[in-house]
């Protein structure tokens, strides 16, 4: 075991996979010589060679299109899109091609591509460096969508992603790269070294897809969340003194419906929280499932917490971010429906 922050854990996952599987290659903007703008690939080109850790032109459509071709040609590419906000030039290649290759060729072709991309706000990134577009991708049939909330999961899930024969879009909440963040920007930053999930094994291990993590067991309300909001929800529940069961989904597609439903059936109350915008967001899917599966066990309407339905503004970062106050209000509404 070693102490790692999320960047180091991701780096370690890619390092281990480059070592173990000669078909694994990395590609992306600034990822090679420089080691990536967030340093996730630092040292990997030096160690594994320029043919395996490739600096690309600034062309996300070409990165993803070429990754598909490489994957069809027998490689296992891990493509970095520098910010999730920059993924859209590659959107057609993801939606129309990557997601459907297996389907349209009746399984004769497939592309084991992993697309890593930092998402989320809280770093004063303004509207083009703060987005959480996971819901746009969960809506597309044929791609798996993952978002870890800590170093241990990040490494184990990324290894699973790289080994998976289906395409994976792997979102990394960038505000969690250096430490757990509970939504209060005025508190001193906490490093991962103080958190049990900052303990990360050196070699290869896997965290399975489709298996949520019960971060905290509780009896009064189920909070279903992922990414940065795991820590925000934990703080919100603790400050209200509510015995909440907090579920970190980790894997949005495939989704662990069993863990969600058995928890809601137990507590009878449910709050869904994500940082992404609310309207047609992934939370709506969770609400629909809980309503379908747990209706007779519910004691209150399901509550939903999200970013506002506006672009992410530079000046109002903390008014926009669904912090502990917004989650707290939703927990209260679930506990005591008017």
């Amino acid at each position: 075991m070693a102490q790692m922050n999320m960047i180091q854990a991701l780096n370690s996952a890619m390092d281990a996979m480059l070592q173990a599987d000669p078909s694994v290659i990395l590609m992306g903007e600034d990822i090679g010589y420089f080691g990536g703008v967030f340093r996730a690939t630092e040292g990997l080109q030096r160690k594994h060679g320029e043919h395996r850790v490739i600096d690309t032109p600034i062309a996300e459509g070409a990165i993803i299109g070429a990754a598909i071709g490489m994957a069809v040609g027998g490689l296992r590419p891990v493509a970095e899109i520098q910010f999730a906000d920059y993924i859209y030039p590659g959107f057609d290649q993801i939606v129309s091609e990557l997601a459907r290759l297996r389907y349209r060729s009746a399984g004769d072709f497939f592309a084991p591509v992993t697309i890593r991309t930092p998402c989320g706000g809280g770093i004063r990134g303004g509207q083009t460096h703060s987005q959480s577009p996971e819901g746009i991708f969960t809506h597309v049939s044929g791609i798996k969508v993952i978002m870890p909330s800590n170093p241990f999961d990040a490494k184990g899930l990324l290894i699973t992603a790289i080994e998976d024969d289906d395409p994976v879009v792997f979102f990394e909440p960038k505000r969690l790269y250096n430490g757990p963040f509970d939504g209060d920007p005025n508190k001193a930053a906490i490093p991962w070294s103080t958190h049990p999930k900052g303990e990360v094994p050196e070699g290869i291990y896997r965290v399975p897809f489709g298996k949520a993590d019960i971060v905290r067991s509780g009896s009064q309300v189920t909070i279903i969340t992922y990414g940065t909001m795991v820590f925000v929800a934990t703080l919100a529940a603790a400050s209200l003194g509510v015995d909440a069961e907090i579920i970190d989904l980790r894997s949005l597609v495939p989704l662990d419906v069993d863990t969600i439903c058995s928890s809601v059936k137990k507590t009878g109350r449910c709050v869904v929280a994500h940082e992404a915008t609310r309207f047609s967001g992934f939370g709506a899917e969770i609400l629909a499932i809980v309503q379908e599966e747990c209706f007779w066990d519910l004691e209150a309407p399901i509550q939903r917490v999200a970013g506002w339905d506006t672009p992410y503004p530079h000046a109002f970062e903390w008014e926009y971010f669904p912090g502990p106050a917004r989650v707290g209000a939703a927990i209260k509404a679930a506990m005591d429906p008017a």
């Binding site: 000669p22 078909s23 290659i25 903007e29 600034d30 010589y33 420089f34 080691g35 703008v37 060679g49 320029e50 043919h51 395996r52 490739i54 600096d55 690309t56 032109p57 600034i58 062309a59 996300e60 459509g61 070409a62 027998g74 490689l75 906000d85 920059y86 859209y88 030039p89 004063r124 990134g125 303004g126 509207q127 083009t128 460096h129 609310r278 309207f279 506002w308 339905d309 506006t310 672009p311 503004p313 530079h314 000046a315 109002f316 008014e319 926009y320 106050a325 917004r326 209000a329």
Partner: protein
């Protein structure tokens, strides 16, 4: 399975610890490149895309057919705009380091691109800038206070707090809103130019992109539409050699110049010394006249050097040779124009020092005023209600509801 194969991987000429090396750069002597008529067909002037138009020679004289014969007063204005851009950048970089603004991007070494090009265009022409074109805003006469208020996201911010610093705009100044996403402005500028042509106007559009961003599909779409519709547009590739850590070879500059993308699409392509104010002005004026008189679009590659970091979030000592800019063969744009003016007897070191002091004082006074409208941490703040405005022209019900919730959250 993966062998050290025949795959070609472009390399930067010099990395940290190595001596700067600019031997890859293809230069033409000052005055050596011919100046075709503005009515010349793109197919007949393809070699322009491979040469390098230069006017100022090593002795600071203006030579050759591209000499624009500008009035010395015009050159002094150009010098002033470039110097102001540089001093503004220096000061704003320091305010970022002091924590007063969240982010900044300098244009150090590239000032002639924006300033000379803007001065060669008309006020009615529409500009679609990238994020390193602050010289356009300065040469178009925007007030420093307005620019600073944008950086501060304060109560006078033209973007109402919604954009990262440097993403300025000015509808009155005909400066389109800057996007943090790369290359998107290129096809938009073509569309604007098509509209001008449809409406029968004389205005043209101009847009800027880095050589790195020219890898995006939007760049190629823009060239295609500009060619098909012969849109009156100037498509400028600012080849400053670096896209954060990746060298221009990585964007496709190793096998062929970026200007040469033009002839491939049937567009005039021309390569110019981007640090030579006179050459940039002359080439821009030539291309603008072509666009205005129905000879179609021009792709201009401005060969320059990104002397500073990509942004305040970047550290170039990790990926390129130290002090490389001091060895850049095309020199410094401000110094070159200054020396030319001195040689003409129209400028002096004393006047330069005095102008520097005057501009510094103006910047300081502007900053002093700008912060009275608030900073990210102190003073008056924009009303967070503004976050919900302008998502749509009229605020839909769900946003009105969310605004009420946000107010309640704030207590």
């Amino acid at each position: 399975m993966v062998s050290p194969s025949r795959l070609h991987l472009p390399r930067a000429p010099a990395r940290p610890g190595e001596a700067p090396d600019f031997s890859y750069l293809e230069l033409s002597p000052a005055g050596a490149v011919g100046r075709p008529e503005v009515t010349a067909k793109a197919r007949d002037i393809a070699p322009l895309a491979l040469e390098l138009v230069r006017v100022l020679d090593d002795r600071h004289d203006a030579v050759g057919p591209w000499h624009p014969h500008l009035d010395p007063g015009e050159l002094q204005i150009g010098l002033r705009h470039m110097l102001l851009t540089r001093l503004y950048d220096e000061r704003m970089q320091r305010t970022q380091r002091a924590g007063k603004i969240s982010f900044y991007i300098r244009s150090l070494g590239e000032e002639a691109v924006s300033v000379a090009q803007c001065m060669a265009l008309r006020p009615g022409d529409m500009l679609f800038p990238g994020y390193r074109n602050q010289g356009l805003h300065i040469a178009r006469g925007l007030s420093l206070v307005d620019l600073m208020c944008q950086l501060l996201s304060n109560t006078r911010d033209m973007c109402k707090g919604r954009q990262l610093p440097v993403m300025y705009h000015s509808a009155a100044g005909r400066l389109f809103t800057i996007s943090g996403n790369l290359a998107t402005q290129f096809p938009q500028a073509v569309g604007w130019a098509m509209a001008a042509a449809i409406k029968g106007e004389d205005h043209i559009a101009a847009t800027w992109i880095g050589e790195g961003s020219s890898a995006e599909a939007d760049f190629h779409h823009a060239l295609l539409f500009a060619s098909v519709y012969q849109a009156p547009v100037l498509l400028n590739v600012v080849n400053n050699q670096w896209a954060i850590s990746t060298f221009q070879a990585n964007a496709g500059g190793e096998q062929r110049s970026f200007a040469a993308r033009g002839p491939g699409y049937g567009i005039a392509g021309i390569r110019v010394d981007g640090n030579d104010f006179l050459a940039v002005h002359a080439v821009t004026q030539w291309a603008a006249e072509r666009a205005r008189t129905g000879s179609g679009p021009t792709l201009i590659e401005l060969v320059t050097y990104r002397a500073a970091a990509h942004s305040t979030s970047d550290d170039p000592t990790r990926y390129r040779a130290k002090d490389d800019y001091l060895h850049w063969p095309l020199g410094d744009p401000i110094e070159r124009l200054k020396q030319h003016l001195i040689k003409l007897g129209e400028w002096s070191e004393e006047r330069h020092v005095a102008m520097t002091a005057e501009l510094d004082a103006m910047i300081a006074a502007s900053w002093k005023e700008a912060v009275t409208y608030g900073t990210l941490s102190d003073g008056p703040r924009l009303n967070p209600d503004l976050m919900f405005e302008d998502v749509f022209k009229e605020m839909p019900q769900h946003l009105q509801r969310q605004r009420a919730l946000m107010r309640a959250e704030k207590g």
